[in-house]
């Protein structure tokens, strides 16, 4: 039993790292653009399908294929922003953009359904079932690669945010859009690129998710409901919060799965309810939702 729990904890932490990447993307988008990208879940599936097609048609290993899929997802993100989000103006903008991302997600889901059909698929490179012996348990290689990659990308993102001029612009826009404009920052460009980055990270999530789960076009709902709970728990707009909440929640879910595989996902909603009752801004959230 102890071995089982340890394995789940280790798995939870490893998967948590990957979810953290997706959650960080989501929370960055919120912090900079003040919108919640409901399509994030479906975009992960899109990334998974892209890797799937690359793997099955061109025999490119999914992890290596990220060299293609990450930029591809980035471009897709920028296009979505340019086409739909940047055009929204007016007072009800934030609620409207949420609905817009929901609609975009729906369209993408529909297209994936049309192209790939309803049957479940998954990514099956040779190493998908091999595992390594750590701390007395067997841990799949996939999880480890995914975790390492996720950590690397989060570090890169942090460096981007805190060590580059662009990152400074991003943080400036996060704090005060008008002031940022006044000092000459092209808010629209920053917004587009941030959205692109937020989407690009879903490519990694897609690979790990695709290698560890059977998925189809409808699998995005599971993902987005987890991600939303995570960023609310961690505090919307807080990168550190997203990290902490991801690892925590995924570990919790993994452990609960031992006893209640069907209901394990309820921990997300329980966490959501508890957070909303006692600390609506989330554990690390400082950015209060701006008054309209």
């Amino acid at each position: 039993m102890a071995g089982e729990i340890t394995r789940q904890i280790v798995n939870g932490i490893l998967i948590g790292g990957v979810y953290a990447l997706m959650a960080v993307g989501l929370t960055l988008i919120f912090g900079v653009l003040d919108i919640i990208n409901i399509a994030q879940g479906v975009l992960v599936i899109l990334g998974a399908y892209l890797s799937y097609s690359l793997f099955n048609k061109a025999h490119i290993d999914p992890f290596l294929g990220l060299v293609i899929t990450i930029p591809a997802m980035f471009i897709i993100g920028v296009v979505i922003h340019w086409a739909f989000i940047s055009r929204l103006r007016g007072g009800e903008r934030t609620s409207m953009t949420l609905l817009v991302t929901y609609a975009v997600g729906l369209i993408i889901e529909g297209i994936l359904y049309k192209i790939y059909g309803a049957s479940n698929v998954s990514l099956q490179p040779r190493y998908v079932n091999s595992s390594v012996h750590i701390l007395g348990v067997y841990v799949g290689w996939v999880y480890i690669w995914g975790f390492i990659l996720a950590v690397a990308l989060v570090v890169i993102l942090y460096a981007l945010l805190y060590r580059t001029r662009f990152g400074r612009s991003v943080r400036a826009v996060m704090q005060d859009e008008t002031a940022a404009r006044l000092v000459g920052i092209s808010v629209n460009k920053v917004a587009a690129i941030t959205f692109g980055i937020g989407v690009a990270v879903t490519a990694v999530g897609g690979v790990v998710f695709g290698e560890t789960n059977a998925f189809n076009a409808n699998s995005g709902y599971d993902l987005i409901s987890r991600l939303l709970s995570i960023i609310i728990l961690g505090g919307m707009g807080s990168v550190g919060g997203a990290l902490a909440a991801s690892v925590f929640m995924l570990t919790l879910e993994s452990v609960v799965t031992i006893w209640q595989p069907n209901w394990a996902v309820v921990v997300y909603y329980a966490a959501l309810v508890i957070v909303l009752l006692y600390r609506p801004t989330g554990l690390f959230g400082q950015k209060a939702v701006r008054a309209q």
Partner: protein
Amino acid sequence: MKTQNLTKGGGIVVVLVVAVLFPQVFTNPAATNYGVLALIFATAAVAWHIFSGNTGYISLGQAVFFGSGAYTMGIAARDWHMQATAVFELLPLSAAVGALIAVPFGLIALRVRRHTFIVVTIAIFFIFQLMAFNFWFTSGSNGLNSPFLSWAPVPYNQNFYYIALACTVGTVVVAWLVGRSRFGLQLRAIRDDEDRARGLGVKAAQVKLAAFVISGAITALIGAVWFYYLNQVQPQTGFNPLFDLTLVLMVFLGGYGSISGSLLGALIIEPLYLWINTQPKLNGYNEIMLGGVFLLVVLFMPRGIVPTGSEYLTKLRTRGRPAVSPSTTIGPASSSPSAPSVSSGGAR
């Protein structure tokens, strides 16, 4: 002003007459079917408006109530073994269940604002869908069946048409009453500036919750009607992720913030949706089209038909008359009488 009210009243009478006569004229059951479902969604749309249209808090969790109403009736039908039409008398129970669910749901969700609120409603929706799949008393993915209700010799569809019509009219009346009341005014003040309204003494939390409960109860009721009409419910149909987005699309198309807009949107979209489902070439494109139409409406006609239309009509009516310019008319400073007594109702 008088002529405006007369034309409005006349218009309502005409619409009602048309609605009542519709199944008598178009006796084809397929046509009536369109009518039933359109009216069911019209009820749901107006119920959505009562809360979300007035307060500005966009709810994407109405499916929670819709499905709960359906499931309540389904469970009652299965466990209480009631005879055919007697089951129908349980309808108020579904509204009560909707109201009961709305209270804790609202207490949690209304603690946050704007898009966090929307996200919370989505999350609660997913929980309910999950529960429908997994709870022992909901028969899991098989769903539940209802007894076939027939009030012969009136055709089945026609019966449900009039039931749905009654629901729609009733909901419109409730929405209208709310709109013209003190309660409605407070809701709309919350929509404009909740903090200022609070500062002026509006009990925002109570008022929002009340509207949410009313909206939930009605949606649950119409969910039950829907269940009886279709004779079955499953977790993915009772708690359909597309339900709320479709509802929002209807309201935005017709005109967010108005009763007639919500009605119009539902009466346009639902028959269209049903017709599309009958076209084999368009099979499987549901989601794409729903998302696509939604984007078109939001990006190009965000205020919807009714407000844009009424503006256009006003333009036509006031053609040629000089505009009333607000900035020129402040009373001359010298001619004001002494200050009116500020205490309510007191003499000077």
